[in-house]
């Protein structure tokens, strides 16, 4: 859709809801853009979606950071699984 035309009031709730649903498919960043887009809205339902979307986003971000930390530090000691999981093998390690 043309980005230069702002959303009409009636459409906002349906768009917000759809983004909320899409975010459940392992897409926390969609929740993040939804929050950015609808941050200033006062409609209670939209605020509900935005709030819980942000909560979900930060939770998944935390999980991701934990997983990366674990992977980076324990990759060597995992032997074969470690290697098969890696997309990139840094130079200079075994």
């Amino acid at each position: 859709m043309d980005p230069t035309i702002p959303l009409k009031e009636e459409e906002k709730e349906s768009v917000c809801k759809k983004m909320w649903i899409i975010g459940f498919f392992g897409l926390p960043f969609v929740w993040f853009t939804m929050a950015c887009y609808f941050w200033k809205e006062k409609h209670p339902k939209i605020r509900f979606y935005v709030f819980w979307g942000l909560v979900g986003f930060f939770t998944e971000l935390l999980i991701l950071v934990f997983w990366m930390g674990i992977f980076v530090s324990k990759r060597d000691s995992w032997g074969e699984t470690g290697e098969s999981l890696s997309a990139v093998l840094p130079v200079g390690t075994q």
């Binding site: 859709m1 230069t4 959303l7 897409l27």
Partner: protein
């Protein structure tokens, strides 16, 4: 292609602005006196009987709007170039890196060939590429003519998604390899999937304007980085040919782009795709999307059907398609002044009648009047500001971004000096194009001037400046 919505030449615009501005200026403190050029109009101040206003300069308004437009255009172009340069430098891309592109070209460049053979071969390659682009544009025009909007949307959607997914992943892996980061498939897949889906949502559906702009820049940057892997001679000849093609396709009456624009305008359906829009139109009701329709449609062209298909795919024409816009247009968004002016004049009338009617209750009336005037003044300032911002909105075609960045990418292979000189040259070319846009107020190709300047300065820098600087450096060390 630069296009302005108003078909009136610039002068009439300026006159209208003058009239409306003068009625406004009466109430405002005009500090820009130094720049004012009086036109000697004694404005019929319907509103203020008190102030003798300064004749307002439309020249100043014009310069301010132009400067704002220029800034709105330069920022995305510079950011795309920056992205391309960073990616190239981090992944150490140089003339030795070959990519999938090189395998589909007819003529494979090798350094042992003579110059004329290289030139001939690259000309052949470039002609083939431009030919493909032309075919895809014509195909798109047919699709629009026969109202196959679903096919168009689906094609664009798939190719953008594919582009972001695959090219994004490849580049992420390259960058991680060069920065020696250990990344696992799970994280990579997750991040890449998110990146692609959010991009597609923001471009083809609703999303904050900033995200739309950022993703347009990212997409054009990615395409440009992959295009720079073409062999050197082929790239330069391709750039020159694309600039010429752009002139033909935008300016000639038979050009497919013109037809594209007209068709899209007729049906009032914008074609989604890679266009960088700098502002949101606040008064969406009064600004008909006709302009946005035309601008978006003109941008579209598929450049990459054969080219960007990665080695894995074969028949999946999905890939590449319309990911990029070959048609380069800069569209100027001009606000509709007529309605704005009539609104202002209506306010003026109200104020006038109020003042005349209740002449007796002078003191309270004066207070009311003062308050009303102040409110009117504030409202006018806000409206003026919005109109100013709307007038300085520009839409830039994705193809422009891509080919400017390809030029800079090629310059990045060589040296930092070439990067700087080419950057400045392209920006100057853009400013000149914007100026012509304001003067001619119709669709203009944005590529040729900038690319011409860029190429001239690249070769001048490479042949003259770099050896000179090196020699000076050596001399100062020796002596």
């Amino acid at each position: 292609m630069t296009e302005s919505n108003t078909t009136e030449p610039l002068n009439e615009n300026k006159n209208k602005k003058e009239i409306s501005d003068q009625s406004e200026e009466n109430k405002e403190q005009v500090q820009e006196k130094g720049k004012e050029k009086g036109k000697g109009k004694t404005t019929e101040n319907k509103n203020e009987k008190t102030i003798v206003k300064e004749p307002k300069i439309s020249m100043y308004w014009f310069v301010r709007v132009f400067a704002r437009k220029l800034r709105n255009v330069l920022v995305p172009v510079t950011l795309t170039m920056l992205l391309v340069i960073v990616l190239i430098k981090i992944t150490n891309q140089n003339s030795d890196t070959t990519d999938q592109f090189s395998q589909i070209l007819i003529y494979h460049e090798s350094s042992s060939d003579s110059n004329s053979k290289k030139f001939g071969g690259s000309l052949l390659n470039a002609v083939v590429i431009v030919g493909v682009v032309l075919v895809m544009t014509v195909f798109l025009v047919f699709l629009i003519k026969y109202n196959c909007w679903k096919i168009i949307w689906g094609w664009l959607f798939l190719s953008c998604f594919w582009l972001l997914l695959v090219f994004g992943a490849l580049k992420m892996i390259d960058v991680c390899e060069n920065l020696n980061l250990a990344v696992d498939w799970i994280t990579l897949a997750f991040l890449d999937f998110n990146f692609a889906v959010v991009g597609v949502i923001v471009i083809f559906w609703h999303g904050p304007l900033k995200s739309n702009q950022i993703y347009t820049i990212l997409m054009c940057g990615l395409v440009a980085v992959y295009l720079t892997t073409l062999p050197t001679w082929t790239t330069w000849v391709l750039l020159a040919l694309i600039a010429l093609y752009d002139i033909f396709v935008v300016l000639s009456p038979k050009g497919p782009l013109k037809i594209l624009v007209e068709e899209s305008m007729k049906n009032d359906k914008p074609i989604p795709g890679l266009i960088y829009s700098s502002i949101i139109y606040l008064f969406s009701a009064r600004i008909k999307p006709k302009n946005s329709g035309s601008s978006s449609s003109s941008e579209l062209n598929s450049n990459f059907n054969p080219i960007s298909s990665p080695s894995s795919d074969s028949g999946s024409g999905s890939g590449s398609g319309s990911g990029s816009n070959n048609v380069n247009s800069l569209k100027e968004e001009s606000s509709h002044l007529e309605k704005g002016e009539s609104e202002l004049e209506k306010d003026v009338e109200n104020d006038n009648t109020l003042a005349e009617d209740n002449y007796n209750e002078k003191s309270s009336l004066l207070q009311n009047e003062e308050r009303k005037k102040r409110r009117l003044l504030a409202r006018r300032k806000r409206r003026r500001k919005k109109r100013f911002e709307e007038e300085s909105g520009v839409k830039l075609g994705g193809g422009d971004l891509i080919f400017y960045s390809v030029l800079i990418g090629k310059a990045a292979y060589f040296d930092y000096e070439t990067i700087f000189t080419c950057w400045i040259a392209i920006l100057v070319g853009l400013a000149v194009t914007l100026f012509f846009l304001a003067v001619y107020a119709k669709a203009l190709p944005a590529l040729p001037i900038s690319i011409a300047f860029g190429m001239i300065f690249f070769f001048l820098t490479k042949i003259i400046l770099v050896p000179m600087v090196k020699q000076l450096g050596v001399d100062s060390v020796m002596t």
